[in-house]
């Protein structure tokens, strides 16, 4: 069972504040999910199983060409009086 402390730690590294209701019901729900994916433990580990299969051949990467994107494409939410706008911090 995921403890209250473990849940707190997961929330902290995920940068998420949980409501009282979530903090109450999440341990059981997350525990069930983890129990469900525990079946993966049955799989044989080791190098005998390839990690990733590159069956599909992707086209070559594009050329690294510098292009001007232009200020007009900057989202209106981020600009004020022609300047870039960021959140104020204390």
């Amino acid at each position: 069972m995921i403890s209250k402390d473990q849940l707190g730690y997961l929330a902290q590294i995920s940068k998420i504040k949980l409501s009282e209701d979530e903090a109450k019901k999440f341990p059981e729900q997350l525990d069930k999910t983890i129990q469900y994916i525990d079946i993966l433990e049955e799989l044989v580990s080791g190098d005998s199983i390839v990690l990733d299969l590159q069956e599909m051949k992707f086209d070559e990467l594009r050329d690294d060409v510098i292009r001007m994107s232009g200020g007009q494409r900057i989202n209106k939410n981020l600009t004020k009086d022609g300047f870039l706008r960021g959140p104020k911090m204390k």
Partner: protein
């Protein structure tokens, strides 16, 4: 002639080009339909009727002046609200993006517009595409047009419901673990998840990049082909995209070797099973060979999918930090120690659960136990499927193991909800194409057949789906008013 809003995409283009009706008349009839049924179905998050009518008038002017109106001239398209549309609000059904207006169009949107399609609005989904019912939308749930007390499937539930009711001609959804096929099946329309790489993901707001693809939801196989050919192709902005041959509608069907996946059938409801077996008999009638086969590692697919998808989600959703995206909080709220978590508390419960699980499976000590094992399983499944495709042209099974269910039935138990995706995640893990086709009803609720093919073998999917669609005669339009 059927009502204008009931026409399929190819009929709309033909009608406008032959001067049978104008684009404005067509778009107006679709908007009237929305006014009639939207309060019951609730497919849309944002409706852009005014801009749609302006675009329709432009199409009519072009036609009058003998200019090319494009392959989709006048066709109304609904877009899942996690695909970026320039200057049209794109929320991902999340509160965290409630005021987000993208500054660019996704590549698929650019292709649609270049071909004369009219973007009608943005359709509902589970927040960030995480869910199978639209109940996790932070705005409102969408209702199944075949029975309003039932869920429409998800996460592209708005797309499935809008196409089924005639609120738009076609729609574009995205499919990470079945999000196109599930609502298409539950709403009795056709939905295609293309091969990973066939369609550019540029502008699709990421949830699990290695699994997701954009794809069409339509009322016929012919419309699927029309949309697919327009939105496919290599894109400079997405290095996983590839060129592919155009798909055609062929009237002659090859004698395909089809395998029914035993595990998908065995785990399904009796009515679903019966209907799928009856469809497989139809395949035999049209000259195909059908055998039942087993996939050894299939029972690991769903746990593997949820491990990988949650891991990718926890990483992808880190960008919602109120600096790049978020709210305009009052100054008093800006404190470094609580800044990010205060903003991110606005995610819905399911998104939070998946981010937490993602952080868990990626943390040291658990990485090799879960994430690495899931990656290995994915490789094993791909190998097994590619081996099967050397022997069989197509694999089939029920799209959904169950019939559409009532609101609230599974929402309190995440595992019950995850199990809804059990038949669809395989195609995402392996990157193969899969289509769902309506094949019947039970108690008035739709049943869909899923057909899968080897990577980039969409032509086989289309050939066999077209042949089956022509032999199965089922009701196409739900009666809502």
């Amino acid at each position: 002639m059927p009502k204008l809003q009931d026409l399929q995409a190819h009929e709309v283009v033909q009608g406008i080009k032959e001067g049978l009706f104008t684009a404005e008349e067509y778009v107006s009839s679709v908007i009237n339909r929305i006014e009639d049924v939207e309060s019951k179905v609730r497919s849309f998050i944002t409706l852009d009727s005014e801009r749609a009518l302006t675009s329709a008038k432009l199409i009519d002017r072009k036609f009058k002046e003998k200019e090319d109106i494009g392959q989709l001239g006048g066709v109304t398209v609904g877009i899942k609200d996690n695909i970026s549309t320039k200057n049209i609000r794109t929320t991902c059904a999340s509160k965290i993006l409630e005021d987000y207006f993208p500054s660019y169009d996704a590549t698929v949107i650019r292709h649609l517009k270049d071909n004369g399609a009219i973007i009608l609005g943005k359709l509902n989904l589970d927040e960030f595409g995480m869910g199978s019912t639209t109940e996790y939308s932070r705005y409102h749930p969408t209702h199944n047009p075949w029975n309003l007390d039932y869920v429409p499937g998800g996460s592209s539930g708005g797309c499935g419901a809008a196409v089924a009711t005639g609120e738009c001609t076609v729609s574009l959804g995205s499919d990470t673990g079945g999000s196109i096929r599930c609502p298409a099946s539950f709403c009795s329309v056709v939905g295609l998840k293309p091969t990973y790489g066939r369609i550019s993901r540029y502008g699709l707001i990421s949830y699990a990049n290695s699994l997701e693809q954009i794809g069409p939801i339509c009322r016929s196989v012919k419309d699927i082909v029309m949309i697919l050919n327009i939105i496919s192709g290599k894109d400079i902005h997405d290095n996983t995209s590839m060129s592919s041959s155009p798909i055609t509608i062929n009237n002659k069907l090859d004698k395909f070797n089809i395998a029914i996946i035993k595990e998908l059938i065995d785990g399904s409801d009796l009515e679903v099973r019966k209907t799928v077996y009856s469809a497989s008999e139809k395949f035999k009638e049209i000259g195909c060979i059908c055998n039942e086969i087993s996939i050894k590692n299939l029972h690991y697919a769903l746990p593997s999918y949820y491990t990988l998808a949650s891991a990718e989600a926890s990483s992808n959703l880190a960008r919602y930090d109120n600096i790049r995206y978020g709210f305009d909080l009052p100054i008093a709220e800006y404190k470094w120690d609580t800044y990010f978590s205060n903003v991110r508390k606005n995610f819905g419960e399911e998104v939070k659960r998946r981010i937490l699980i993602g952080s868990y499976v990626l943390s040291s000590g658990y990485y090799s136990k879960y994430y690495l094992k899931a990656r290995r399983l994915r490789s094993l499944l791909k190998l097994e499927l590619l081996k099967l495709f050397k022997k069989y042209d197509l694999l089939i099974g029920p799209t959904m193991p169950i019939l559409p269910f009532k609101f609230g039935e599974k929402i309190d138990d995440p595992i019950k909800m995850y199990l809804v995706d059990i038949n669809t995640v395989l195609a995402n893990l392996a990157g193969i194409p899969a289509i769902t086709l309506p094949i019947g009803f039970s108690n008035g609720l739709p049943i869909g057949l899923q057909i899968m093919a080897a990577p980039f073998e969409e032509q086989k999917l289309i050939d066999v789906s077209n042949a089956l669609e022509n032999t199965i005669n089922i009701q196409r339009r739900p009666i809502l008013i």
